[in-house]
Amino acid sequence: MPALGADMEAGKLVEWLVKPGQHVKRGDVVAIVETEKGAVEVEIWEDGTVDALIVELGTIVPEGTVLATLHDGAGAAAPTAPRAVSPAPVAPVAQAAKPAPVVIAAERYKISPAARRKAQELGVDLAKLVPSGPEGVISLADVERAAPAAVAPGAPAVDRMEAMRRAIAAAMSKSKREIPHYYLANSIDVTSAVAWLARENAARSVQDRVLFAAVLLRAVVLALKEVPELNGVWVDDRLQMSQQVHLGVGIALRGGGLVAPAIRNAQDKTIPEMMAAVSDVIRRARAGGLRSSELSEATVTVTNLGEQGTETVYGIIYPPQVALVGFGRVASRPWVVDGTVQARDVVQATLSADHRASVGHRGAVFLSALDRLLQQPEKL
């Protein structure tokens, strides 16, 4: 069971996507766990052939637990996790040799986290559901329709929110307890970047339009190259800088809650690629299809709270990261340009950073670089 980020220590196994005898490659999604932040896809980190599925569906599994064992191809069975935690209970699964082991659902259901949870509560078999949603997505209504009639609307949805609230509380308390934050804010004139994007978008089909947030994310990645001590994690009393930028993006979940999955290797992404990656994680965060690596590997996080009009965000760092970049609303402001007051599009960029890992001067260099980069959007 992989780490799922600083605020989650366990998940409930709800679906196996592989069966004994099946060949898997590093990076394959092998199982789905339900967490307070939605359904998460568990990836495997080695190539091999599945030997036995050890954990039964419905079990709540802490981080580090062996979920299944693998053959490494040389004939010996090896545990998939660094070490086996206990003599494994016998897994009640079909043997690979049998022709049609159907114990495990080999197919991934498209279903929202809320609907998946409801289906479990009500004992509804996902395989028997007829999705009514777009692209075959099973909705809450589909589940409720399929459920036996007299089911009281339950409190568990409240429990889930409560669990998520507690998880966020734990991570943020840890952050404020352990991380000596410092905060910086710059107002950045983004008029030329906004105009540039409008021109770009006018030439694009509706499907390929880019949101301004993708431009900001690209600029953050480039500015981090100049101040690399903001990109990494603080572990064992020291800063471990990261060569790659795994860019966490704060995503509000419908109905409350927050998740900050990482766009992996964001340093290599152009603005359109960044937009595609952001769209992908937002969609999966809300539909419940994030991967375990995305929840644990971010090296820095960006939060954009301008949507509701907020001007300035002073964020709390997500441990063990060492910086969080915030953006407020892009607003038209009176601004002095060449000695005259003009109406310009201005955004407040903020940096919350860990003073153990960087000093304020370097944070200021980062925000200044961000400003400079955003003045030449065509070069981003």
Binding site: G133, L140, N201, A202, V206, Q207, L211, A252, R254
Partner: protein, 85 residues
């Protein structure tokens, strides 16, 4: 396309981006964003869905005209009528 069909298509597109929203009780003059908790990403998905369902290509400059249910229906009725002629 009749106004009722346009309305139907719009509500379906909204349901696609805000599946948990209460679409039966939308207030026609209040911003959709406040009623359905949609952000700019959701709004872009809505514009894409409307393009697919109605064939209308909504430029960014017109986005604000779709801020409310009434505004959106007025805009879409005009746009679909313009496509016919």
């Amino acid at each position: 396309m009749t106004p009722e069909q346009v309305r139907q298509a719009f509500i379906e597109a909204l349901g696609q981006i805000a599946p948990e929203g209460d679409l039966d009780h939308l207030r026609a003059e209040r911003p959709l964003r406040d009623q359905l908790d949609i952000d700019s990403y959701d709004f872009l998905q809505l514009v894409i869905a409307l393009h697919e369902r109605l064939g209308v290509d909504i430029p960014e400059a017109d986005y604000q005209r779709l801020a409310t249910l009434q505004g959106a229906l007025d805009y879409l009725n005009a746009a679909t009528a313009a496509m016919r002629s």
